[in-house]
C-alpha cells in the first residue's frame, strides 16, 4: 500500500524533521504551564490560580467567566482554540469528610458545605500545546452559568449534557433541552442525591442487592 501515490508521506528532509520534533519538545510541559500561569496572573489580577499534578486551574465567578474564556481564546500567548470539555461535579450540602493526607487519607476532618456544583471547562491550545482548566462554582439549588456558545460553538453539546445530567442552567444557550434522558424525565441523574436506580438481582437462589445498597 505504501507505494501507492496517494499513500505517500510527504518528503520532509531530515534536518527539517529534526527541527519539527525539537520544536515540539523544546519547551517542557512544566514550562508551558508556568507561562500560562504568568500570563493569566498578569491579565486578571484577582484570578485564583491552582496547580495540582502539573495542571493549572483558574477559579472564577459566573460573571467573569465569558470574559476569561474570550481572553483565553483570543490572546496570542494563550491561544486556546478549542473548548474540549465542560463537566460538572456536584458537592451536596451537609457535612462531609475531608481527607487530610494524600495516601492514607488520615486524619479526616468534617467539612460543612452549602451544596454547590463546580462547572469545569477544559481549554486546549493547538498552537502551543497547553491545557487550561477553568472552574466556576454555583449553588446547587440555583445553578446558573452564562453559556459559552458565543465563544466556542462546541459548548452547545457539552453544556446540554451538563444541563441534562446535573441541572445547571446555561443562560443564553440556544437550545437547552435534555440530551440523553427522554424529554419528560424528571430529575438530574448525575447529582449525588439522585439514586443509582438499580434492581436487586436473583441468581441461583441468592439475592444480590443493587450496587448502591451494598455494604462493600
Amino acid at each position: 500500500m505504501t507505494d501507492h501515490p496517494r499513500m505517500q508521506v510527504p518528503d520532509v528532509s531530515a534536518q527539517e524533521k529534526l527541527n519539527q520534533i525539537e520544536a515540539s519538545v523544546s519547551i517542557t510541559l512544566d514550562q508551558r504551564t508556568q507561562r500560562v500561569r504568568d500570563r493569566l496572573a498578569s491579565a486578571f489580577r484577582l484570578l485564583t490560580l491552582e496547580e495540582f499534578r502539573g495542571e493549572l486551574t483558574a477559579v472564577t465567578t459566573p460573571n467573569e467567566l465569558l470574559a476569561l474564556l474570550q481572553f483565553c481564546k483570543t490572546d496570542p500567548e494563550l491561544a486556546c482554540e478549542l473548548l474540549t470539555d465542560v463537566t460538572g461535579v456536584h458537592w451536596p450540602g451537609g457535612t462531609r469528610e475531608h481527607r487530610a493526607q494524600e495516601t492514607t487519607g488520615w486524619p479526616t476532618y468534617s467539612v460543612e458545605d452549602e451544596g454547590r456544583i463546580d462547572v469545569l471547562y477544559i481549554l486546549l491550545s493547538v498552537t502551543h500545546g497547553h491545557r487550561l482548566r477553568v472552574r466556576v462554582s454555583v449553588p446547587d439549588d440555583a445553578a446558573e452559568v452564562p453559556s459559552a456558545v458565543e465563544v466556542y460553538r462546541s459548548a452547545s453539546m457539552l453544556e446540554r449534557e451538563v444541563f441534562d445530567l446535573m441541572g445547571v442552567q446555561f443562560a443564553g444557550h440556544p437550545r437547552l433541552e435534555r440530551l440523553f434522558m427522554p424529554e419528560d424525565w424528571v430529575g438530574h441523574p448525575l447529582r449525588k442525591d439522585y439514586p443509582l436506580g438499580g434492581v436487586a438481582v436473583q441468581y441461583k437462589g441468592a439475592t444480590v442487592p443493587p450496587p448502591d445498597e451494598r455494604q462493600y
Binding site: 440523553f180 434522558m181 427522554p182 424525565w185 441523574p189 439522585y194 439514586p195 443509582l196 436506580g197 438499580g198 434492581v199 438481582v201 441461583k204 437462589g205 443493587p210 450496587p211
Partner: protein, 211 residues
C-alpha cells in the same frame, strides 16, 4: 400457523408442519438492530470469518417489515425502549427475538436508572445468548438452537400491537425462557458441581499464560 387455528380440534398436519418449520428456519432474515458492542460482534458473525450466509441469514433487512428475526444486540436504554417495541410490532408474524449479550438478556453490568433490565420486559424473547460480548460462535450456537426451536414449534403466539408483556403473559400464558433457551455450552457446572477444566478443554490450553 394460522391454518391450525381454523381447523376443528384434533386434526394435525404433521408433515406440513415439518415442512413449514423447515422453511421458516431455513432462511430467517434478521432485522438490523445493533445497538452497542454486541452489534460489532454481530457484524463479525455476518462477516467472512464466521459466516451467517451459510444459514441464509446474511441479508440483514433494514426494514422490520421484511424481517423475521430481531437480534437485540446491545444495551437497551430508557429512550430506546419504546422504539424497540415499535420495531418489534412492525415485524410481521411469525417473528422471533434473540436477546444477544447480557445487557439485552438481563441488563448486564449496568444495573442502573438508564438501562432496561432485560429486553424481555418489552418484547418476548425466544433465545438468550449471554456473554459480554458473546463470541460469534456463541451467537451462532444461539441461532442454531433457535432454528431447532422454530422447526418444532407449532403456534407462534405474539403480543398485539402496544400490548404490554404482563398483559401478554396473562392472556396467553406464555412462559418465557426455559433452560434450553439459553445459548452456550451444555456442560456448565451447576451449583454444587465442579469439573476438571483441563479435561474439558483437552490437554492443551488455548494460550499458555505466563506463570
Amino acid at each position: 400457523m394460522g391454518l391450525e387455528a381454523r381447523l376443528p380440534q384434533g386434526v394435525l398436519l404433521t408433515s406440513v408442519e415439518k415442512l413449514v418449520g423447515w422453511g421458516r428456519a431455513g432462511s430467517l432474515w434478521p432485522a438490523t438492530f445493533g445497538l452497542a458492542c454486541c452489534a460489532v460482534e454481530m457484524m463479525a458473525t455476518g462477516a467472512a470469518h464466521y459466516d451467517l450466509a451459510r444459514f441464509g441469514m446474511e441479508v440483514f433487512r433494514a426494514s422490520p417489515r421484511q424481517a423475521d428475526l430481531m437480534i437485540v444486540a446491545g444495551r437497551v436504554s430508557q429512550k430506546m425502549a419504546p422504539i424497540v417495541r415499535n420495531l418489534y410490532d412492525q415485524m410481521p408474524e411469525p417473528k422471533w427475538a434473540i436477546a444477544m449479550g447480557v445487557c439485552a438478556s438481563s441488563g448486564g453490568m449496568f444495573n442502573n436508572y438508564a438501562i432496561v433490565q432485560g429486553v424481555d420486559h418489552i418484547i418476548p424473547v425466544d433465545m438468550y445468548v449471554p456473554g459480554c460480548p458473546p463470541r460469534p460462535e456463541m451467537l451462532l450456537d444461539g441461532i442454531l438452537k433457535l432454528h431447532e426451536k422454530i422447526k418444532t414449534e407449532q403456534f407462534v403466539v405474539r403480543p398485539r400491537k402496544g400490548e404490554s408483556m404482563e398483559d401478554f403473559r396473562r392472556r396467553t400464558g406464555w412462559e418465557g425462557p426455559k433452560p434450553e433457551d439459553v445459548a452456550g455450552p451444555d456442560n456448565i457446572p451447576q451449583p454444587g458441581e465442579r469439573h476438571d477444566l483441563h479435561q474439558v478443554l483437552g490437554s492443551k490450553a488455548v494460550g499458555q499464560v505466563r506463570q
